[in-house]
Symmetry: C2
Subunit: 184 residues, 2 copies
């Protein structure tokens, strides 16, 4: 059957501004180098039609930048009403979800857990474990990703950080200034 497959990778050098702790980020960049892999995505789409889906897997390596756990850039869908499924295949993660009006959810994900991300929710994967956090995902092929919304807001409202006891917790991001509208 027709379709396109592709992969992409994000390295430390791609993630400037994503972590709240700029000092720790620059230190990691200097120590580990900008080419250090943080996450990779392999996806498949079939051609054509508004009903098409993009299906793939995301692999987010473990690690920390200061107190913040390794995470994806996060996004709202460019067509903001598009929903998404994430299903945890391996590792331990958190799906961080935020509405534009200020609600937050941090959903723990272990193998076999699925999270249904509704439309109009900003979302990001965070690896809070010691091994790669691998998710299966599925979303409408026309959804697109709006990354600028998070950047313009000074990051997502919540940070997923070490709790000092081997686990994770969330805390408010002091740089977050609120989401400034969004396209529909």
């Amino acid at each position: 059957m027709a379709g396109q497959s592709g992969t992409y990778a994000k390295t430390l050098g791609d993630l400037g501004g994503v972590y709240c702790d700029g000092v720790a980020f620059r230190a990691a960049l200097a120590e580990r180098g900008p080419e250090t892999l943080v996450y990779s995505v392999a996806e498949h789409r079939n051609v054509g039609g508004p009903g098409a889906l993009i299906i793939g897997t995301s692999t987010l390596l473990p690690g920390r930048i200061g107190e913040e756990f390794a995470m994806t850039r996060g996004h709202l869908h460019a067509k903001a009403d598009r929903a998404e499924l994430y299903y945890c295949l391996s590792g331990r993660g958190v799906m961080l979800l935020e509405s534009l009006s200020g609600e937050s959810r941090a959903v723990p994900m272990a193998p076999g857990d699925a999270v249904h991300v509704p439309g109009h929710w900003v979302h990001r994967s965070v690896n809070v474990g010691d091994e790669p956090f691998v998710s299966l995902f599925c979303y409408p092929a026309d959804a697109g990703q709006d990354y600028g919304l998070i950047a313009d807001a000074g990051g997502m409202a919540q940070l997923v950080v070490a709790d000092g006891d081997g686990g994770w917790t969330t805390c408010p991001n002091p740089r977050h200034v609120g989401y400034q509208g969004a396209n529909s």
Copy 2:
């Protein structure tokens, strides 16, 4: 977050005409009763928007009707271009896929296998194992299901049947008369 959850079940009594071997079907119905569960579906949808998804699990019990393995009714999406993801959680199954122009695929599914069903393909799950075949699925919430297309065609073009050696194979369905068009 807002949303609706639901479950439904299909029993032997719901599946008249689905199996090619009517004699074996009527014998099973008499022996096991019309209320005997064949498969159940648990699904979740979030309200609103063309970008919404329906996410759920399907549990298809093992068994045979004559030489045919237990299967779902199968469908084309009422909005035929809508794609779907199936991901095998447990058991051994086959995703039977047929295009309206006569192409067929029988894709084996074991735990960890994903199948991307493109738009415009009729599809059905078949349990070829000895335990429940459980799949995670995800598709656009506005897709709908057209069950009449298969019924009007005398069933899907291929049957998934016992191969006489403990496994499965496909063979042409002698009752199939071709798919008669489809809505878009």
